[in-house]
Every structure is written in structure tokens, then in C-alpha cells.
């Protein structure tokens, strides 16, 4: 093996750049990732243009854009897209605002700072099914939940969270999981803020507000955009939290795109229709991904 490679290297006219043939080291990763990227996607595309229903095997053949036409006429698609937008948008606003404020707060010196920071980032490491069930049962349950107990204690009517405010409940749970993520990233970013720059601004008479808006926030802008993009990719397909709490309901109140595809494909077994939905999800995610890759690549060039 090696001798063969060596002879070949020796007989080949010398090129100046590559001294070792590293392709055998690289190609396994490239190959598996390529397969992973292309095979399921090609299948989704293929299924989206055929008639394929696991419950009705007589339905076969090329469907053209039938599944898409069906999908776009279905009010459930538009509801689910709207719900996805509401969920992603609300969680992004909450996590970025709180994440930024917390980063500023926990960057101050105070007693027990290290431990307090650990407590704030803890929810990010809790598996989604646990977080959702703890909130659904122990916090938000209309009879036995802690919030209901507190409401009863002060003489209020307990709130039936998942019946009356289903989307808000899901937003609260998801935000609780992702605020720590935004906080962790932004805290790391804020720590790289130049102390001299801060000192200079202070000497020039900048108050805390001016410091925040003219020094801290601009410094954090790139980290914030990274947080927004990464969270968007994950939030676009929030699934487990809905699976264990509302199952998309009541009605379609918490059906996002991920839940719609799941319920059409794996509960109603309409593969063609669900695959058309999958293609929509891929397109949406790719729009976001385009911007993320651009940011990261700019970073790569700087390094």
C-alpha cells in the first residue's frame, strides 16, 4: 500500500502545494455526509410528486404537482405556517432580549456569580421531553400545578394554560429552554469586550444606558445574529415539546409545520402529501441557512 503510494508520488511530476495525499483521510466523512444530505432529500422530492398513501395501496402513479396543489389549498398548511412563525418569532424575541439583559447582569461582579450563572444555563441541558412535562404537569396543571396553587392562594381563578392559552404555554416552555442558550453565547461574547474601551467611554462621561446602547450592544451584534440564526434552525422544527404537551391542539392551535408533517405522514400515512410539506420545511430552513453560512464563512476568512 504505502510503497505503491510512494512510487506513484515519486513518479508524479512534483506539485508544490500538497505534500501528502490526504484524500483517504477526508473522503469517509465527505462520503457519509454526502449520502446523508442527498438520499433522504431525493426521496422526499420523489415522494412529493407521486401518489403514495400507506393506507390505500391502490393509489399509485405520478402526481405531478398534485400534492403541492392539495397542500396549498389546505388551510392547515397556512395555519401551521402562521403558528410556526408565531412560535419562532416570539421565542426569538424573548430569548434575545432576556439573553442580552442577563448577559449584562451576570457580567457584573457579585456574590456567588459562578453558581448563579450555572443555575441560569441549567435548563439548556435538560432534555426537551423532561422540560415540557415538568412545565405541563408540575407548573401549569390547572388543578395540581404550582401556578394554580399560587393563584388560588391569592384568591384568583386558576388558569387552564393548555386549554385557554395553548400557544403561549408552548412559547413559555420553549423560551425557558432557549434563554439559557442565548445567555451563554452572549455572556461569552460580552466577556471579550475590551476593558480599556469601556474605561475610556466611562471617562468620557457615558452613563450606563449610553454604555449599553453605544458600546455593549454594537459589540454583541454579531453574536446576537449568530444566536438568531442557530435558534431559528432549531425552532423551525420544534417537535418534542408539542408531542408531549398539546399534540398540536386544541384543534390546530399549536400545529406547527413539523407537527403537520408528522401527523399527515405518520398518523394519516399520506406520504406524498407529507413529503410536499417536508419540501416546504427544507426550503424555509435553507433560506435561514444561507445567511448563517455567510456569517460563518466571513468568520472563517478572518481567522
Amino acid at each position: 500500500m504505502t510503497t505503491l503510494a510512494q512510487t506513484r508520488a515519486a513518479t508524479r511530476p512534483e506539485k508544490k502545494t500538497r505534500e501528502v495525499d490526504t484524500r483517504p483521510l477526508l473522503w469517509p466523512s465527505v462520503a457519509v455526509l454526502f449520502l446523508w444530505m442527498i438520499v433522504p432529500l431525493a426521496m422526499t422530492l420523489y415522494f412529493s410528486v407521486i401518489r403514495y398513501n400507506l393506507l390505500n395501496p391502490t393509489l399509485t402513479g405520478f402526481a405531478g404537482l398534485e400534492n403541492y396543489a392539495f397542500l396549498f389549498e389546505d388551510p392547515a398548511l397556512w395555519t401551521s405556517l402562521w403558528n410556526t412563525l408565531v412560535l419562532v418569532g416570539s421565542v426569538l424575541v424573548i430569548t434575545v432580549v432576556l439573553g442580552t439583559l442577563f448577559a449584562v447582569l451576570y457580567n457584573q461582579e457579585f456574590f456567588g456569580r459562578g453558581v448563579a450563572r450555572l443555575l441560569v444555563i441549567a435548563p439548556f441541558f435538560v432534555m426537551p421531553t423532561v422540560s415540557a412535562l415538568v412545565w405541563k404537569n408540575m407548573m401549569m396543571h390547572p388543578v395540581y400545578g404550582l401556578i394554580a396553587s399560587l393563584q388560588t392562594l391569592v384568591g384568583l381563578q386558576p388558569t387552564d394554560w393548555f386549554t385557554d392559552y395553548p400557544m403561549l404555554s408552548v412559547i413559555i416552555i420553549v423560551a425557558w429552554q432557549w434563554v439559557p442558550f442565548a445567555f451563554l453565547i452572549l455572556l461569552t461574547a460580552i466577556q471579550s469586550l475590551d476593558a480599556e474601551q469601556k474605561e475610556a467611554a466611562r471617562i468620557d462621561g457615558a452613563g450606563p444606558m449610553a454604555m449599553f446602547f453605544y458600546i455593549t450592544l454594537p459589540h454583541l451584534s454579531r453574536a446576537i445574529s449568530v444566536v438568531i440564526m442557530i435558534e431559528t434552525i432549531f425552532l423551525l422544527t420544534i417537535f418534542a415539546e408539542i408531542y408531549v404537551t398539546t399534540a398540536g391542539g386544541p384543534g390546530t392551535a399549536t400545529t406547527n409545520l413539523a407537527w403537520l408533517i408528522y401527523s399527515v405522514g405518520l398518523l394519516q400515512f399520506d406520504v406524498g402529501y407529507a413529503s410536499a410539506g417536508g419540501v416546504i420545511a427544507v426550503i424555509l430552513a435553507n433560506i435561514v441557512a444561507f445567511f448563517l453560512v455567510r456569517t460563518v464563512s466571513r468568520n472563517l476568512q478572518q481567522a
Binding site: 490526504t22 415522494f47 456569580r113 441549567a122 418534542a240 427544507v282 460563518v296
Partner: protein, 272 residues
């Protein structure tokens, strides 16, 4: 004077928020030591005799050990497999970069952008036909693939920081690329490889899209087991809490220890 008062306020506010955010986890931990009756008592019982009953019952009744084992197998198995693929690749790209290296890295990152739900249906059918539904092997393959880009990226970042002179010296002494990799680079990069591995373990351990969709009992990890508590029949909050506490405690500790490295891993090196 005003400075110390400000500090007092900062301390109070920061601790109040920290405790508020951590509270659901604390409450869950507390509930796991209650009896089922105390767990749903209104007003909630704050003073109770702690019991370990829930833990023993979770272990005894629900094949808990199997779910724990499945979680360990998929997260550590997929991590080792991902490292086996990623270490040579990251080594090649970090030390023998070509003109195409940056675009290869970005392309690898972009495979991470594929929304899982976009390929859920074909993966489900593929797994069904291959007999991989509800198996540890199937989940392990998926987790390896979804974490591979992050693992390569993190390792690439770490390898970049390894002083090239040491490897250069080895090369001058006649080390072949494989020797250079195994005898020089890997020992030097152990901390980086370890924290990359930890991130991969954490992400796999908590993954709950593929585990819920592709497994149900035999191959199900803890995420799917916990989800089975969502059925409305019966209120087993104390047992749910005990099972949850055991499921999250180890990974919480690991996460706390490696938070620094997590940031660069999760942001693909964009924030350090």
C-alpha cells in the same frame, strides 16, 4: 456608598432571576422524593419525609435500565463513531489545507441545516424497510450523521491551535502521516477531543426528534421513555420526577463542566 448599594441590588436581582429560572428543575427534584399523594397535594406540601420509593419503583417496574442503557449506547456509540470519522478529516483539513478546504468545511456545516422534519418520512420508510425501526443501531447511525459536522468543526478549530512545529519536527524525524496523527497530534489534542466528545454526547443524549419518531420500546432512549409519561391516565408525577432527575442529572453536570467549549462548538467557532 452608592456603589456598594448598587452591588447589593445586583446581587439580589441576579440571584432572584437565577433561582426563578432554576426553580422548575429544583421543584422536580423535590417532587421525586415525595409520595404520589404528596406530589399532587394542594397546596403543595413543602415539608415532607423524603422517600426513595420512587427511584426503586422506577427501576423495578418499567425496564428503566434498558432505556438508560440505550441512551448510553446511542450517545457514546455515536460520539465514538463520529470521532473516528472526524479526527482524520479534521487533521487533513487543519494541517494540509487546500484551496477547497474552506468550502468543504462550509458544505459540511450546511448539512446540519437540513430540518429533520423535511426528511422524516423517507427516513421512516427507509428504516422500516431496513428493519432499523426501534433499534439502537438505527438511532446510533442517525446521531452520528447529525453530529458529525459539529464534531469536525470543533476538532478543526482545536487542531488549528496545535503548534505546527511539533508536527513538523516529527515529520523531519520521518513520521508518516498516520504516525503523526496517532503518536503526535491525538495525544496533544486530548483536551480538545474530549470536550468535542462531551458536546456530542450531550446533544445525542437530549435529542428528541428522531428518538420519538423512530423508536418506541426496544431501541428507545430516555427521551422517549420520559415522553411515555405524557399519557393522561393516572398522575405519576413523583415517578416521572424520579425518572427525569436520573435522566438529566449526569448530563447537567457534564454540561456545567464544559460550558466554555460548548459555546464555540454550538456556534461553529463564530463566538469564542
Amino acid at each position: 456608598m452608592s456603589n456598594s448599594r448598587q452591588k447589593l441590588w445586583t446581587t439580589a436581582l441576579a440571584w432572584f432571576i437565577a433561582l426563578l429560572i432554576f426553580f422548575p428543575i429544583f421543584w422536580m427534584a423535590l417532587t421525586s422524593f415525595k409520595t404520589e399523594t404528596e406530589a399532587i397535594a394542594t397546596p403543595p406540601s413543602l415539608f415532607f419525609v423524603p422517600t426513595l420509593e420512587n427511584f426503586t419503583e422506577v427501576f423495578a417496574r418499567s425496564n428503566y435500565a434498558r432505556f438508560v442503557w440505550n441512551s448510553i449506547a446511542v450517545s457514546f456509540g455515536s460520539t465514538l463513531l463520529a470521532l473516528a470519522f472526524a479526527i482524520p478529516a479534521a487533521y487533513a483539513m487543519a494541517f494540509f489545507p487546500t484551496k477547497r478546504t474552506p468550502s468543504t468545511l462550509l458544505w459540511m456545516l450546511s448539512t446540519k441545516m437540513m430540518p429533520p422534519v423535511g426528511v422524516l418520512i423517507p427516513m421512516y420508510l427507509l428504516f422500516k424497510n431496513l428493519g432499523l425501526l426501534d433499534t439502537v443501531t438505527g438511532l446510533l447511525i442517525i446521531y452520528t450523521l447529525i453530529n458529525l459536522p459539529i464534531v469536525i468543526w470543533m476538532l478543526y478549530t482545536y487542531f488549528k491551535d496545535v503548534p505546527g512545529e511539533i508536527l513538523e519536527a516529527g515529520r523531519v524525524d520521518g513520521a508518516k502521516p498516520m504516525q503523526e496523527l496517532f503518536l503526535l497530534l491525538i495525544p496533544l489534542a486530548v483536551p480538545g477531543i474530549a470536550s468535542t466528545g462531551l458536546l456530542s454526547v450531550i446533544l445525542s443524549w437530549n435529542e428528541a426528534f428522531w428518538s420519538l419518531n423512530l423508536t418506541s420500546s426496544q431501541g428507545a432512549p430516555l427521551t422517549a421513555f420520559i415522553a411515555s409519561f405524557s399519557s393522561p391516565q393516572g398522575l405519576f408525577w413523583a415517578k416521572l420526577s424520579a425518572a427525569s432527575l436520573m435522566a438529566i442529572a449526569p448530563i447537567l453536570v457534564v454540561g456545567w463542566m464544559s460550558q466554555r467549549q460548548l459555546v464555540s462548538g454550538l456556534t461553529f467557532g463564530a463566538v469564542k
